[in-house]
Amino acid sequence: MSTATPSAKKVNRLGLEVLNYKGSRTTLCAGCGHNSITERLIEVFWEAGIEPWRVAKMSGIGCSSKTPAYFLGLSHGFNGVHGRAPAIATGAMLANRDLFGVVVTGDGDTVSIGLGQFMHMLRRNVPLVYVIENNGVYGLTKGQFSATADVGSKLKTGVVNEMAPIDVCLAGIDMGATLVARSFSGDKRQLHSILRTALSHRGLSIIDVVSPCTTFNDHEGSTKSYDYMKDHEEPLHEIDFVPFYSEISVEYDEGTTQEVEMFDGSKLRLKKLARDYDPTSRMQAVALLHEAHSAGDVLTGILYVDNHAPTLIDMLKMVDEPLATLSQSRTRPGREALETAMEELR
């Protein structure tokens, strides 16, 4: 990874070095936007001084869902089944309300196969930091459309997507998430600050991070497309071929628009919310997202925050301690309770 991480000698409030927040080495393609997100997660957890043993990392299936192995190696992780990270994460939070839950999934996971679970997680306001590494494409199965692919985007087979994408931020605002943000994997400063904010949010944070795929988000005619490279590179191993790119990086100010060139040569227009934007208005957030969409912009920043809505844990009126470690004296009623139940049935 090319990003410089904070000096290894520096320690956080717990006396831990950033090294303590790293995981195993990434196995994703070089230049993958997901790796940038992994680095930001390492930074913010370290900076915030969150005890790694308190963190539970959960994911579904796909490139993005592999990433919990690459950060916070001292935290428990659960890489479950495709599209079902919300269920696993909800269950984990029920069992232990003291856990710090972080979910990393992709657009296929969250918006295609797992859309139902995603919606119901929003509705429940499960206290989680939920990161969607959104590249509009299925990487592990070699480049099929996901439901976040833009209208007009092309597969390497030449198939053009004609269906409108599902916007996870609109869904999040509408369905009950209490912090909704969008960023770009290459915008270190913004992604960092969004994640830091999310770590201190007590409800459900939905963070949609546009994260370009170096390998499969290409199209016919692009000089960097899979097909082009296959035809023009000489010693080519068809299946294993993965072009090497360095990460896309971008830095721009609040209230401005920035055009970014993607791996496939296409352009992404990022529009950052102004510094004085008030994220507590649901109506305004929804209107701005629609306006940006009509203008062909990707609106970034913290779009919506609600600091008052009760979380699922609040709603269940559970004891303050984690259910997971309650003693038998708390979980098995006494003899008189059973006798009462029996007497009613005699």
Partner: protein, 612 residues
């Protein structure tokens, strides 16, 4: 009312009497509120000390379709469904003619007078009752009459069978509870109206009667789902995630009610549990697995279609080794099947649910006391072996009212299994999540939130080595799968052993599981008394099977595996692991028409196969 003419039965009066050995069937329309009247009738007989069972055969519909409630009273304690109906209470105009036509000769019929049923046959005892005329005076409120008129037949039957009215009053007030005393009084008025009408207008000609016994003292009446729920409460369940599906919804609902009563913290009144109604069965099992991984005693309850949806997640639970309890109230499949009828249709599927090589333990409760006990056993097993554990109950057990011994308080302390604490990790200096330290195939685990740098591991449904690291190495994969097989072998010595009743000199035996029990027990007595055939008996309480099953088969020439499905699933599961000489001894008795299995069907099949 021309009472003299109407009360003349077609069948001549019988001279003998049949005491405490008959079945009553109430044919009605669902949604008409007959359930209360039926439960009061059943409970009255129960309170007279007579062994009794009740079975509700209802349609998958809210209101308007035929429903039959059968009460069997039997002095010998036989509580399986009785194939023949002795005493029909015909309330449903739609089904009345067919109900009457299928009765055996000598049966009694209490019917709504306008249905004019007595002309249909001359070999039955008919008792007409003008419900509409009787209900008016006892229930001034017209819209309640539909409900209250059902109580009239309780009064009529009490008179005809000789049920103690004091017991019926007690049963009725218990059914309504203290808060509905006014409604209870009105309904009691209907019972009395029925009783008085019968006294004045009906001449008893049928032989059926009840006489007080002392066989139900201390016993309870409960449905299997409530019993399972109560078991979960005392097993220390902490997370229930579920999705409504007949016939398991009443389990979740009973569990929520019991949790709310018995599991609020004494001081803070906060819940020592969490219940979430999920959006579907995928989410229900996913949440339960997430909770089990994070240390909860987690469960879900469902039925066949839900099991099909849970298949992928169950494979994850097996491979990642997460404790979870899945209570399957089996109903008739395939597909939607008959949602309100019973079957043992998920035996084979649950044993090997999900893709790849998987094996899951199953417990087979046969009665409410076992529903209670096995809920506790299932949670202990799930955490001891770190794996999904199934309880295969069924609709007959789950949704019907059963007479049962009171449940004993669980004396064994809760065992959370091989969970390493921060102190353990400090002492050990670390651990390998999937390492077989003890040689029993059961590894050690840590819970998320354990404050130790060595506590964490990465749970994944993809290939992994002993340290829970991603691995596609052939030896890592194979070693892990072999250890999982070893773990399953260890379960054979842990699961509840079968119930065995050996008949001296018996050449043949019966093997069954779950609710086939009562029909099999009664059938053994029929085979002996009608054909002088001694039959041994083994009832399986769990899968994996134990050595007792092998020994039982070896001791007999032929073994009849009795089960409630078409494809002999239990026998198929036995064939999967048995040598040819044992398989050669297996025969099947299969019952799969949606109704609970009855003794006569078992007896007939064995008699035919034995060419007696």
């Amino acid at each position: 009312m021309s009472s003299a003419a109407m009360s003349r039965a077609s069948c001549p009066p019988t001279t003998h009497s049949v005491v405490n050995d008959f079945s009553i069937q109430v044919a009605t329309v669902n949604g008409s509120g007959s359930q209360t009247a039926n439960n009061v009738l059943m409970r009255s007989i129960f309170q007279m000390g007579i062994p009794v069972s009740g079975k509700n055969m209802f349609p998958s519909n809210i209101a308007g379709l035929p429903t039959w409630f059968t009460i069997r009273a039997n002095r010998h304690g036989y509580i399986a469904r009785k194939k023949e109906v002795d005493f029909l209470i015909a309330m449903n105009p739609e089904s009345a003619r067919e109900d009457v036509e299928t009765l055996p000769p000598g049966a009694a019929v209490v019917y709504d007078e306008p249905l004019k049923l007595k002309d249909l046959r001359d070999d039955l005892h008919f008792y007409p009752v003008p419900y509409d005329k009787l209900v008016g005076p006892v229930c001034p409120e017209a819209k309640l009459r539909k409900l209250v008129r059902n109580m009239i037949y309780d009064g009529v039957v009490a008179h005809l069978l000789g049920i103690d009215l004091d017991e019926m009053r007690k049963a009725l007030f218990k059914q309504f509870g203290a808060r509905k005393a006014k409604a209870a009084e009105m309904n009691w008025g209907a019972v009395l109206a029925g009783k008085q009408y019968a006294e004045k207008n009906l001449v008893k000609t049928d032989p059926f009667a009840v006489e007080r016994m002392n066989e139900t003292a201390g016993k309870i009446i409960i449905d299997g789902n409530s019993a399972s729920a109560l078991g979960c409460v005392f097993a220390g369940v902490t997370v229930l995630t579920w999705y409504p599906i007949t016939p398991s919804s009443s389990l979740a609902e009973a569990l929520m009610a019991y949790l709310n009563r018995f599991r609020l913290d004494a001081e803070t009144k906060k819940a020592t549990y969490a219940v979430v109604q999920a959006e579907d069965e995928l989410a229900a099992i996913g949440m339960a697995l997430g909770a089990g991984w994070a240390g909860a005693r987690a469960m879900t309850c469902t039925s066949g279609p839900g099991i099909s949806l849970m298949s992928e997640f169950i494979g994850l639970g097996y491979y990642v080794e997460v404790p979870v309890v899945v209570i399957d109230i089996q109903r008739v499949g395939p597909s939607t099947g008959l949602p309100t009828r019973t079957q043992q249709g998920d035996i084979l599927k649950n044993a090997i649910l999900s893709h790849g090589d998987t094996r899951h333990p199953i417990l087979f409760p046969s009665a409410p006391d076992e529903c209670f006990k096995m809920s506790i056993t299932a949670f202990e097993m799930a955490e001891h072996f770190q794996t999904p554990v199934f309880i295969n109950s069924d609709l007959d057990l789950g949704m019907n009212n059963w007479m049962s011994d009171a449940f004993p308080y669980p004396e064994e302390p809760i065992d959370r299994g091989k969970v390493l604490s921060a102190e353990d990790l400090e002492r050990l200096g670390g651990f390998g999540r999937y390492q077989d330290v003890d040689g029993d195939g059961v590894p050690y685990r840590t819970l998320p939130g354990t404050n130790h740098p060595q506590a964490a591991y990465f749970a994944r449904g993809s290939g992994h080595n002993e340290k829970a690291q991603y691995s596609e190495r052939p030896d890592d994969y194979r070693n892990n799968m072999d250890r999982l097989a070893r773990k399953f072998e260890t379960m054979r010595t842990y699961v509840p052993k079968p119930e065995v009743r050996e008949a001296a000199g018996a050449k043949i035996g019966i093997v069954c599981c779950g609710t086939s029990r009562f029909a099999c027990e009664e059938s053994r007595d029929q085979l002996f008394s009608e054909h002088s055939l001694s039959v041994s008996y083994l009832r399986l309480l769990a899968y994996p099977f134990t050595q007792e099953l092998n020994d039982f088969i070896d001791r007999h020439e032929r073994v009849y595996v009795v089960e409630q499905n078409r494809d002999a699933q239990l026998a198929a599961l036995m064939r999967l692991e048995m040598p040819a000489e044992r398989i050669a001894k297996l025969r099947s008795v299969l019952h799969y028409n949606g109704l609970p299995i009855d003794a006569r069907s078992v007896t007939d099949s064995i008699v035919q196969q034995e060419a007696l």
